[in-house]
């Protein structure tokens, strides 16, 4: 059996990297009989970059959605505060600025307000969720996602 030379001190130098990669390929192929499709790495690289670019789109959408929800919530809070504490300062509904009424329409049409359930709704809903589904959620999300993220952050 052949041993790879020591090379890892200069990980970011491209010539060393090329030679390291070809040694890796050679040792896996010669000693373990492992092969791969021709031109695999360049195809795989473009697949990964495409997935990453889709992922960025998803992250952007979530971020935008959160911003809309927070803007709408802030608008509602201001209107509510004005209604309770300074009713005279609030324009009649006919005189509500277009941007406020448009935002409320947008919120209703897209059910955005339902994306942020109230605490009581969560409590009531939880009564109807079977225990095994809660366990499954804890296994899949809390353990795998949260703990995993924590481990990786170290």
């Amino acid at each position: 059996m052949k041993k790879l030379n020591n090379h890892m001190d200069s990980k970011l130098k491209s010539n060393d990297q090329i030679s390291f990669d070809s040694k890796m390929h050679e040792i896996h192929s010669k000693e373990l009989g492992l092969k791969m499709p021709e031109d695999y790495f360049s195809k795989s690289k473009s697949d990964i970059l495409e997935k990453v670019s889709n992922q960025k789109g998803v992250m952007f959408t979530i971020f935008s959605r959160e911003r809309i929800i927070w803007s709408v919530a802030a608008t509602i809070a201001i209107i509510f505060a004005l209604t309770v504490f300074k009713p005279n300062a609030l324009p009649s509904f006919d005189n509500v600025p277009a941007i406020v009424s448009d935002t409320i329409d947008h919120l209703q049409n897209n059910n955005l307000a339902q994306g942020e359930p109230m605490e009581n709704d969560i409590l009531i809903t939880s009564l109807f969720v079977p225990d095994n589904e809660i366990d499954e959620f804890v296994d899949n999300y809390v353990l795998e996602e949260l703990v995993y993220e924590e481990v990786l952050s170290n």
Binding site: K3, Q17, D21, H28, E31, L34, F41, I48, Q55, L152
Partner: protein, 188 residues
């Protein structure tokens, strides 16, 4: 500031991130592929896990706190993604721990991208019979050429334990391979 510090800074900078991530792929794609391939055995599985690994790396970059080197951190992600994949497969196929080694060899032989001859198959058979952790330690040291310090960070096992496991495994493999060569000579 070292090359790696500068590189990490670019990865965390929104303007430079995409360019730096491409560079990261060029640097680590092949070595992480081989690391994953030995864990999940077939090329098809390794391809899936490699893609998930780089997606996870991309998503987790903002959380990278540089407590370990970028190199070790990425191996940890690749290792964890491989384990997650194997665990899901085990659940799907209702496999016991004893079945795993047996399945390792079956999967390997059934893979169209395995072209091992008799000696390579024998080495793979010896590896498949090793306890999972010992096999991983041997593969990370011998084939991935990781330092014991790096393996210790990935597997969370003390360096002393890793060293003794590695040397015992090497002796075990040498002894068994020698026996195979003697058998082959006697056949001739």
């Amino acid at each position: 500031m070292t090359n790696e510090d500068e590189f990490i800074k670019n990865l965390l900078n929104n303007k430079e991130k995409d360019k730096a991530f491409k560079k990261l792929l060029d640097l680590y794609q092949e070595r992480l592929y081989w690391h994953i391939r030995k864990l999940v055995v077939t090329h098809e599985n390794a391809d899936d896990v490699l893609q998930n690994t780089f997606l996870r790396i991309y998503k987790s970059l903002p959380n990278f706190q540089q407590k370990s080197s970028l190199h070790t951190w990425m191996y940890r992600i690749a290792y964890n993604e491989s384990l997650r994949f194997l665990e899901e497969n085990k659940k799907k196929n209702h496999l016991s721990l004893d079945d795993v080694g047996h399945k390792y060899l079956n999967n390997l032989v059934g893979d169209v991208f395995f072209e091992g001859d008799e000696v390579q198959l024998k080495l793979q058979r010896i590896l498949s019979k090793l306890p999972e952790k010992e096999r991983q330690i041997f593969q990370m040291k011998y084939y991935d050429d990781l330092k014991f310090r790096e393996i210790s960070a990935v597997l969370e096992i003390k360096e002393g334990t890793l060293k003794s496991s590695y040397y015992n495994t090497v002796k075990h493999i040498e002894k068994n391979m020698l026996a195979v060569e003697l058998l082959a000579k006697n056949k001739v």
